[in-house]
């Protein structure tokens, strides 16, 4: 049952410190979207399966729909809006355009956060590995080919040892 209880949290969102009272049951996604108006993060399932709501919490991708806002007290959160000036995200956005990695765009914010994580964490990843890493983000529009190609292209462009074309 909904009580009147709220807790006050301090949380860094896209580089800005925010202090806010939240209900214990409020998800991080709802907090970002409804309280802070950061609607770039989308909700596809609200049960942790589709990945549309993926944001960065303390530098790692996480599902904001099943993360409680109160659990993020003291944490640093970055959403797609917060990636506006990020150079890796910028490379990814350009690659997403060039490879037609989005259609309706609903999965895209989550895809970008995951893609950025793949690029940073797995510089040597090949296509098969990218597909596995991306398997936590559902897209119903693209068949994933554009997304995979975009990520592979960014990895290749960033690689200090450019791969030979087979």
């Amino acid at each position: 049952m909904a009580g009147k209880t709220t807790l006050t949290i301090g949380i860094e969102v896209n580089g800005e410190q925010v202090t806010h009272a939240v209900e214990p049951r409020t998800s991080l996604a709802d907090f970002l979207r409804d309280t802070l108006g950061l609607t770039g993060t989308n909700l596809g399932c609200e049960h942790g399966v589709c990945g549309a709501c993926t944001v960065e919490i303390d530098g790692a991708p996480a599902r904001s729909c099943i993360t409680l806002a109160v659990a993020c007290d003291g944490a640093s959160v970055r959403t797609t809006e917060g990636l506006a000036d990020d150079p890796v995200a910028e490379e990814l956005r350009a690659a997403f355009k060039a490879h037609h990695a989005l259609q309706c765009g609903y999965c895209t914010s989550g895809m970008l956060v995951t893609a950025r994580d793949i690029v940073m964490r797995l510089p040597e990843a090949d296509e098969a590995r990218v597909r596995v890493e991306l398997a936590g983000n559902l897209c119903r529009c693209t068949g994933y080919m554009g997304v995979v190609n975009a990520i592979v292209a960014v990895l290749a462009a960033r690689s200090p040892h450019p791969r030979q074309d087979p």
């Binding site: 409020t26 950061l38 506006a84 997403f96 765009g105 119903r140 529009c141 994933y144």
Partner: protein
């Protein structure tokens, strides 16, 4: 200008805003003073509503109102309309229970909305919805085709004897019988085409408001056809003139046909907005999408093919039985008995046909349009049947197809379904795909798979599909003095990139910079038309863009003649400028607009096209199966698509890729199951319903063939949105069956999961 013109793989205009989180999906809209809606839904497949008690719910914090079917009825709210023109089992006009936005006397499927709570927040509305006490009296229910069609089955609606909401018959049964009597061979198939859930990643949602001063409703929603929803909501539900309703649509997070109609929840939000005097906001949870967003497919199909000794088709007999769910509203019945049958003869010359189709009522959620809507079922049937025939006759499946293809010289070709194909060069397509997919090199690849302990299979599909639905679309084009060309259209972007494609067409035809073109859509106040469905947005909508551009030039030529004091026949148009031939006297298009009354040149175009377009395609799929685990991997996938003239190859490829992904989903992963006893939806979340993931899918090699432009529209384009989905499913399943045929396996029901493959192999081994 040609850099941005027709045929270029330019990147999409839509992308930047969607990549920066700046898109506006319906749930992103928050109106001042808005309330939130949560629905109370039936937990029973079929039950009489005895009473609804909202006393407790109304006392909870934040609750503004609880509304039921009785409230709506008292205010004269209508039911969701039934498509006219279909006949039921007794030959009378199709009849089905009235589908009220909130159930009144009887709930007919699990998840049907019976009441709504309006509260200050979504959480409060959901809390209170749990406290609305509904007394139900359970009634015997039916969820499957088998149960609905069984002798002595409960009849769910008095005017639907045999639970048949609608039925049709096509062809000539006698002629077909004669063809079968003279056949050297008869091939047969029978299987389910299982129920699917469209799963657009954006769930449905609606934000409705009512303005007392003007007496006008505004509904913001996620749909493919704002003008269509406006009419249904106004005239069918609220019983007000159409101009009293405005439907506004922002970014749409996927539609796939599922968002082509008004839903009960939309209607309730609009009604409630007036009732409570505040805006009402609703966003479907994913569970609500599974329960009550339209489903797709769900047919049991049987077919027989009569062939002569050389593999020439003599006749085709087809029986289609579709489960359309609990109500006859929406396109469910028409998909089963009319749309699917249009393509049942595929790309083959079939001299005799006997087709019967029935749409049955059951106590399940409604089946409606889902990418392909009837055509994937029909092409699955004919393509599985062709492979069965080839196997029976020990013939190469490509060769059997070749012998039966409609020849280009026969175009325009009329099928026994009465459909007219304007264009298509199917033998040429077949030749090319066999090259592109290295059909000849298959044995070597099979050997390599075998060396790894894997079973390899392959299949080819040659097919087409029907597009268009309604064969006209109106658009308005305005050249304004501010240097912009604005096009107002009822077509709706939902990821298919039509904004970009339209700009390409207009910028090339008007010979102006693409940045000058704006596409205005998503508002029933600014444009009336049919909207986006049935792969019509480009071949009809895009044609309208081209025609409007040409008409603008013609009108401009005559206005320029006046302005330049020359005969309009002496006016030339190039580079966005009218000039008097042989002089340098001229005027820029936008300057010319500035001189007109209202500072604009305005054109209303009604684009008519001469019928459906028939995009056609060939798919080749190769799979590898691990006989120990039953795991199937798609290792090679090639398509050659004739979508007529290509406006943007990048977008076409994306449409095909996404389409095949959904086809693979049906072939190998997705299944919607209702418990046959209780009628509960067993696959009600993304944890139970397997949407393809990145590592479930291969790379697709997609090619276009532009040698056969469409003849029935000025653009020469054919639809593409549904093509990949229509052909992908049979190709994948046929490839799997091909790998298993040596073990005596002829059929596997979809989805072909590892478990099903493994079981089939075990059974085959034991036999």
């Amino acid at each position: 200008m040609a850099k941005f013109g027709i045929g270029q793989a330019i990147t999409r205009r839509e992308d930047q805003r969607l990549l920066t989180g700046a898109g506006t999906y319906v749930d992103d809209v928050a109106l001042p003073n808005q309330t939130h809606a949560a629905f109370v839904r039936s937990p029973h497949a079929r039950a009489r509503i005895v009473s609804i008690d909202a006393t407790n719910a109304l006392q909870l914090p934040g609750v503004v109102a609880v509304l039921t079917g009785a409230d709506l009825q008292a205010d004269g709210i209508g039911s969701m309309p039934i498509n006219p023109g279909l006949k039921n089992g007794a030959g009378k006009d199709m009849s089905a229970p009235p589908y009220f936005p909130l159930a009144t006397d009887e709930a007919r499927y699990v998840g049907q909305a019976v009441a709504v709570v309006i509260a200050e927040t979504r959480d409060q509305a959901e809390d209170a919805a749990e406290q609305v006490i509904v007394e139900f009296e359970e009634l015997p229910a039916i969820t499957t085709i088998e149960a609905a069609a069984a002798d002595g089955a409960v009849q769910l609606w008095a005017d639907a004897p045999g639970n048949i909401a609608a039925q049709t018959q096509f062809g000539d049964a006698k002629a077909c019988d004669a063809a079968f009597a003279g056949a050297a061979h008869v091939a047969k198939v029978a299987f389910m085409n299982q129920r699917l859930v469209p799963v657009s990643m954006e769930p449905r949602g609606t934000v409705a408001e009512f303005d007392t001063a003007s007496g006008r409703y505004t509904m913001r929603t996620s749909c493919q056809n704002p003008a269509g929803l406006q009419k249904t909501l106004a005239e069918g539900i609220l019983k007000v003139p159409a101009e009293k309703v405005r439907v506004v649509v922002g970014d749409v997070g996927g539609g796939f046909g599922m968002k082509t109609q008004l839903y009960p929840e939309d209607a309730v939000c609009a009604y409630a907005a007036k009732k409570v005097g505040r805006p009402v906001h609703w966003r479907a949870s994913r569970s609500e999408e599974f329960l009550a967003g339209n489903h797709g497919r769900d047919q049991y199909d049987e077919a027989e093919l009569a062939l002569d000794k050389d593999g020439k088709i003599l006749g085709l007999r087809v029986r289609i039985v579709g489960n359309i769910g609990a109500y006859g509203s929406g396109p469910g019945a028409v998909i089963v008995v009319a749309v699917g049958p249009k393509v049942i003869t595929g790309v083959y010359h079939i001299p005799a046909l006997d087709l019967r189709a029935k749409a049955l009522l059951t106590n399940t959620n409604l089946v409606g349009a889902y990418r392909g809507a009837g055509r994937p079922e029909a092409i699955y049937l004919i393509e599985r049947l062709m492979d069965q025939a080839a196997a029976d006759l020990k013939m190469d499946p490509a060769e059997l197809r070749r012998r039966n293809l409609i020849q280009p010289a026969a175009m325009p070709y009329k099928t026994l379904m009465g459909e007219k194909f304007d264009s298509g060069n199917f033998p040429h397509m077949l030749d090319r795909i066999l090259e592109l997919a290295d059909w000849k090199g298959y044995e070597k690849r099979r050997g390599e798979s075998k060396a790894k302990g894997k079973l390899r299979g392959r299949a080819i599909s040659t097919f087409l599909e029907w597009t268009g639905v309604v064969h006209e679309e109106a658009v308005r084009m305005e050249v304004a003095a501010d240097g912009k060309v604005r096009v107002y259209t009822a077509m709706q972007a939902m990821g298919q990139g039509i904004e970009t494609s339209y700009v390409q067409i207009i910028s090339e035809t008007l010979d102006i910079d693409p940045d000058r073109v704006e596409i205005v859509q998503g508002d029933s106040d600014v444009a009336q038309g049919i909207g986006s469905m049935g792969s019509r947005s480009l071949y009809i909508g895009g044609s309208a863009m081209m025609t409007a551009s040409k008409e603008t030039i013609e009108k401009g030529r005559s206005l320029a003649g006046d302005a330049l004091e020359a005969s309009s026949s002496d006016i030339e148009y190039k580079d966005g400028k009218f000039t008097v031939a042989g002089t340098d006297v001229g005027i820029d298009l936008f300057d010319l607009a500035g001189r007109q009354p209202g500072k604009r040149i305005s054109i209303d175009t009604l684009q008519k096209v001469d019928g459906p377009s028939w995009p056609n395609s060939c798919h080749v799929c190769e799979v590898e199966i691990d006989p120990e685990t039953g795991v199937v991997e798609i290792v090679k996938y090639t398509t050659l698509d004739d979508v007529g003239r290509v406006i943007n190859p990048l977008i076409v490829a994306g449409q095909v890729h996404g389409g095949i992904a959904q086809a693979v989903g049906q072939a190998m992963l997705e299944n919607t199951r209702y418990d046959p006893e209780s009628g509960q939806l067993l696959t009600g979340s993304l944890q139970d319903y397997a949407v393809p993931r990145a590592d479930d899918l291969p790379d697709f090699a997609q090619y276009c063939d532009e040698s056969t432009p469409c003849k029935i529209n000025p653009l020469g384009a054919k639809g593409v949105g549904e093509l990949g989905t229509v052909g992908g499913t049979p190709t994948v399943v046929n490839a799997i069956v091909d790998a298993l045929r040596p073990m005596g396996i002829q059929n596997l029901e979809m989805p072909v999961t590892p478990e099903r493959v493994w079981q089939a192999l075990r059974t085959a081994k034991a036999a």
